[in-house]
Symmetry: C2
Amino acid sequence: MPSQQVAIDRVFHALGDPTRRSIVEKLSSGPISVSRLAKPLEITLAAVVQHLRVLEESGLVRTEKIGRVRTCRIEPRGLTLAERWISERRSLWERRLDRLGQFLVEEDEGRS
Amino acid sequence: MPSQQVAIDRVFHALGDPTRRSIVEKLSSGPISVSRLAKPLEITLAAVVQHLRVLEESGLVRTEKIGRVRTCRIEPRGLTLAERWISERRSLWERRLDRLGQFLVEEDEGRS
DNA sequence: CCAATACTTAAGTGTCCGCTTGACAATCAA
DNA sequence: TTGATTGTCAAGCGGACACTTAAGTATTGG
């Protein structure tokens, strides 16, 4: 299923915006309502809601509305996805360096 | 120091584009020239160069020109920055859950 | 020297995106 | 009920951004 790609795409796109990252930062220290989330940010509540939509669709945030208050909390799924993508690239890159290093050592040994 | 924030911003912005991520993916399995990098991508070489500029400024990629060939390789600094940002959010979030869990347990013990 | 290769640079274009405004809906408190 | 709070929806604006085209530079092989 190629939808993993889509998911990764959504996550990184979501994290690409500084305002959305600051929302994630805020949320990582506890759930909070939309309006309280908007307070410290110098943009409209409507804009915050739009960001939340993106964050929710990317699996970075989960929200739940009770009464007139929508409470937002962090959803680890999205972060995990991004983290895994990065560590996969890194391990590929490190494995390559290992092979290269070993090759150089072996070549040196043979040259004695 | 122009703040870690700016650097983080650049990295996540760079990773926000799917083409740039695919460049990073390609590069994580070894250095390669600009034109060979462009081959499988269905965009102009000029566009690839522009992406490379962004990637280089974000510390995700390093390039070096020898003769008429510019060779691109991955630079771990950028990835590390992104990885750390994520793991910091996660650990904050997990610590919070721990405190919450402990609170619930203690409350339950007191209620016996 | 000449042609091919491998970029580089600048300018223009269309699209996406973040944001605002304004009108509306739903819930709560007095 | 009335007014305040909390959020929703739709439309539109302006700028950022990915991409192309086109012309130019530098390097290399024959």
